[in-house]
Symmetry: C2
Subunit: 258 residues, 2 copies
């Protein structure tokens, strides 16, 4: 049986999703819990990797579950949660078609980049958001977002050194939601897929447009030239959260809403 | 010179506000930073104590600052922040009248109790909110809140064993704000002052009214009889945040908005 899990994790103390020899990873922690709970050694396939420090509210993964294990699929979540640490939990578990692959079957992903505007650190905001020292103009940010929506070669918005077949991606929408009474913003980016560090570089460019440090034409030119150097810095991992992964037909729809 | 500080802390790893022999406290951490930064040994007066695990977005405190120390009052925040750990920071510093006492001068305080409704733990919500296993009815919660607003003897809403002159307090308002698309609620309580565990017991009673576990008449009777036993359990500390302390004239108004 093929089982899918909807999981959430606080990335603060994880060296990212992907299992590695040294370092505590989400994938490794899940595989260890599956071994302890059901005595199975399986590879858990995630919808995609998340970097060290990146959070997930609705990551999806799947794994082959032996027919010999007798448990109702929806109870797998509770069995794993009893063994998982507090910073990664299963929100739901369900049987899926044999052909389902959390990575290859994914149609869209939505990431949130959370920012608060302050000259000084706020301990209650620091864990899940990045601090930005100025208050950006929302209209300028919106104009930059409009520029980035759609199908583009996003190589300018990719960390150097990453090797992928194509750097063309479709960004379906970029939502800018004011938070904290105008003293913060949630940047929600829904796309077909994302290049390495893409959302974190986009968030930085949006904010720099908001303060006038970066012009719209400079963003347009960077996008056309595929020139990472013309854009600002990559924003820190902690502000990034994988909100949800969309499949067709929908999987775990309604299980998590921010 | 009398200096007031607006501070914020993540209470997770503090044994509360009040200094104690063993245990890491907010007051002790601030006093130590003042000693290291300015060589002064002073007592920091908070607007009130917060318990172990309780957070603060806008706690206010004051301390006597020697005339011999040469620093602009508004720069004290930065000097302290350079020495303070990540979980407690000064958001603003300002000179205040000699008669100002963060505790005795306080007119109103606003606390937030944050709850999310879920059968399973969500790692990204656990740190600053309490989990409640059912979805309460907001109308019933509102009716209970209406009952609790106003001037009452709140001894039924106080942990047993606390000794205070009077258990009469005025609750100016109880705001119920749906969160997470209806899967959570922020309970904002503004009052003249609060008894020990008062907001945490109120939050529990509001939720129990919302599920029908507690009737409005039972709350009315408990309030009249001053009977703590008739109300439900005290909700966990981590869901509670001291949002702000109000003074007349206003102090640090606009420095923090949730």
């Amino acid at each position: 049986m093929n089982i899918a899990l909807l999981i959430s994790y606080d990335g603060t103390h994880f060296s990212g999703w992907q299992i590695q020899k040294n370092g505590r990873t989400v994938q490794g922690t899940l595989e260890e819990a599956l071994h302890r709970a059901f005595g199975i050694r399986v590879r858990v396939t995630g919808s995609g990797r998340t970097d060290a420090g990146v959070h997930a509210a609705g990551q999806v993964c799947n794994f082959p579950f032996g027919e010999s294990v007798k448990i109702a699929p929806e109870k797998i979540a509770d069995a794993l949660n009893a063994l998982l640490p507090a910073d990664v939990k299963v929100l739901a578990s369900a049987p899926v078609a044999d052909s389902f692959d959390a990575c290859r079957s994914a149609k869209k992903k939505t990431y949130r980049y959370a920012v608060y505007f302050s000259r000084r650190e706020h301990p209650l905001l620091e864990r899940y958001a990045a601090r930005f020292g100025a208050v950006p103009d929302f209209t300028a940010m919106r104009q930059c977002a409009d520029l980035l929506e759609g199908e583009h070669d996003f190589s300018a918005f990719s960390a150097t050194g990453s090797s992928v077949k194509t750097t063309v991606r479709t960004v379906y929408s970029i939502g800018l939601t004011p938070r904290l009474g105008g003293r913060g913003v949630d940047v929600d980016v829904c796309g077909s897929g994302f290049l390495y560090n893409m959302v974190r570089i986009m968030a930085g460019a949006l904010l720099d447009c908001g303060t006038g440090k970066l012009s719209l034409s400079a963003v347009r030119e960077a996008l056309a030239a595929g020139d990472r150097e013309r854009l600002g810095k990559t924003m820190p991992a902690k502000g990034l959260t994988l909100l949800s992964v969309q499949y067709d037909p929908p999987l775990f729809a309604g299980e998590y809403r921010e």
